[in-house]
Symmetry: C2
Subunit: 339 residues, 2 copies
DNA sequence: CTGAAAGCGCTAACAT
DNA sequence: ATGTTAGCGCTTTCAG
């Protein structure tokens, strides 16, 4: 069973080296030979054995995406899968395989080193949730081709790409100001929540740029949860001078925010505008439908694919950069009051 | 660079066959030799080359999950990723790699055949969305180890496992009857929507079992979309004798259903109960929080892992079966009126 | 433009 | 219990 390169060579009356060359598109083979060998390959239904090629070529054109896949992550973190899809799309286009592996933060360093040592993969895309200083050390010491999806929150020489959340925050504030909302509140997660904080940072920087002074009590921190969004929003709308719009650091907060406003009797978007980040499909199901600053995480995954292949080809490449095209999706929770 | 089995053999003063045997846990090696070889392997930081092993063993312990990964699928189909996670969990436990590959229905047959022919993978998990008669033919003719996730909707000898939606429908009706809701309506997707229809089938069969007669106008078909859910529900609650509870074939319908009921002035769950299928995290964000018949799709993926490995080991095994553990999650949209 | 031959690193009969 | 050796199927110098 199994027709091999030898069979093809014999049948075509050439050496296996020649067959190999036509398979791999060498220029040094005559057109006639190429045609003949191709015919024979088709006739014999020959398919080069990937396992043998991998051994000979010292590569298996495989990237593994390591992340943490607890139960329900499909529901709680759709963005991760969206990135994964972008990644898959690019890699398969380049004839690379994407393998998916779930790991805990503790397991990550040893698993990655081992997997690389045994030559199961050419490189790794590492989800930021798996980061640790130990991992950083392991990766660096062993010169493992890698790319982190998300910026490390510690000094690191790992390669990474990430969404520019600060920029997204700027976009949010800029858009709201352009709509005519002159004062903006922000409700965010805990101060340790980097994404939330970066978005806030962007908002504040844009506000400053437009010379709007920001009262301290227009900024609230809580949990990334609906009830927290409800409470923080309640505090804000009870203020003497309440803001004209509220920016929510994420969707969970936003759902609570909307509920609080509705229950208070105020109307969205006339009395108060609401803007959040990341477009969940459910944003469209809410009443009112939420306007959002959308971030193309599929594209982030796609870029990750491009970059990891660069790194695999040239281990000296070092990448640390923000990649984003945030765009505003205006729906019902904001209006342009200026026209 | 790269320490090989030869280096280990030389250093340990044995043959490479012996080293190979200790790597693969052969019983016929003395304890002393095993210990010595292990020491040397550690000392030399030796790691067996997977690519060489794959070639020699004629296997690369790899399963590929083929499905369709258009943009936004992370948001629109979290269930698929949940299955994928279960699958990954089982496969990695058995030291198999899971590769992810996006395909269109048209591409599937050739890609799968080619991938199998070139020996990139040992088997395939195929998402039902990729099914076609041509695929069926390709798979069968070439005896490709496979397992479809979802029942084919045509006569097929492929292996598959699926959620038992009829059973889920039975559970739904049984639960509602037990709560004291004596008459049940059902709003579903189009008649072509097999999932919806199977759930309805289960509902009806359970109703019959309890000798409750089901008026035709208690059953409505529409689109799997909120506005459709809204309309169908409106029709139902305007009926002279409206049902005591409504079963929605899926969450999209359910959101519209809830809105229609609320706008009509009726209260959930007192005036009318609402039950749907599949627990989306957003079911908890709605007011009222939705009671659901939950289906463990993670587990379905896990079972798929078990079964594809059986099939890979023994190509003669043929599997066509329903796998489910639906369970009720009671929240606010239903009450037990019986106690 | 083509071929001979030496790997790639490991496994698995078959001997001993 | 251990070693010899023939593969596994392809790539890649190096000659010619």
């Amino acid at each position: 069973m199994g027709v091999t390169i030898k069979d093809v060579a014999r049948e075509a009356g050439v050496s296996i080296a020649t067959v190999s060359k036509v398979i791999n598109g060498s220029y040094s083979i005559s057109k006639e030979t190429i045609a003949r060998v191709n015919d024979v390959m088709k006739k014999l239904d020959y398919h080069p054995n990937t396992r043998a090629r991998n051994l000979a070529q010292k590569s298996n054109r495989t990237i593994v995406f390591v992340t943490s896949l607890e139960k329900n992550v499909g529901f709680t973190n759709p963005h991760m899968f969206e990135m994964m899809c972008g990644l898959e799309n690019y890699l398969s286009k380049k004839d690379y395989s994407l393998v998916l592996r779930s790991l805990t933060t503790d397991e990550a360093p040893d698993y990655i080193k081992e997997t690389f040592d045994v030559k199961k993969a050419d490189g790794f895309i590492i989800h930021a949730s798996l980061l640790s200083e130990k991992l950083d050390e392991t990766i660096s010491k062993n010169e493992i081709p890698h790319l982190v999806l998300g910026m490390p929150n510690f000094e690191s020489h790992m390669s990474w790409i990430d969404v520019n959340n600060k920029h997204a925050g700027e976009i949010a504030a800029k858009y709201l100001l352009a709509c005519g909302y002159c004062s903006l509140a922000f409700i965010g997660g805990r101060p340790e929540d980097k994404i939330s904080m970066n978005r806030l940072e962007g908002v504040l920087s844009m506000l400053k740029e437009h010379d709007v002074v920001q009262p301290q009590n227009y900024i609230k921190y809580g949990e990334s949860a609906t009830n927290s969004g409800f409470e923080l929003t309640s505090e804000i709308i009870e203020l003497d001078h309440r803001p004209e719009a509220i920016i929510c650091a994420n969707n969970y907060l936003a759902y609570g925010c909307v509920r609080a406003i509705k229950e208070s009797g105020l109307t969205i978007p006339k009395d108060i505008g609401v803007l959040t980040f990341d477009d969940f499909p459910f944003s469209k199901l809410l009443a009112p439908q939420l306007s959002v600053v959308n971030i193309d995480v599929y594209d982030l995954g796609y870029e990750a694919g491009k970059n990891i292949l660069k790194i695999v080809r040239n281990p000296n490449v070092h990448i640390q950069s923000y990649i984003t095209n945030p765009n505003i999706i205006q729906r019902e929770s904001t209006v342009n009051n200026m026209r």
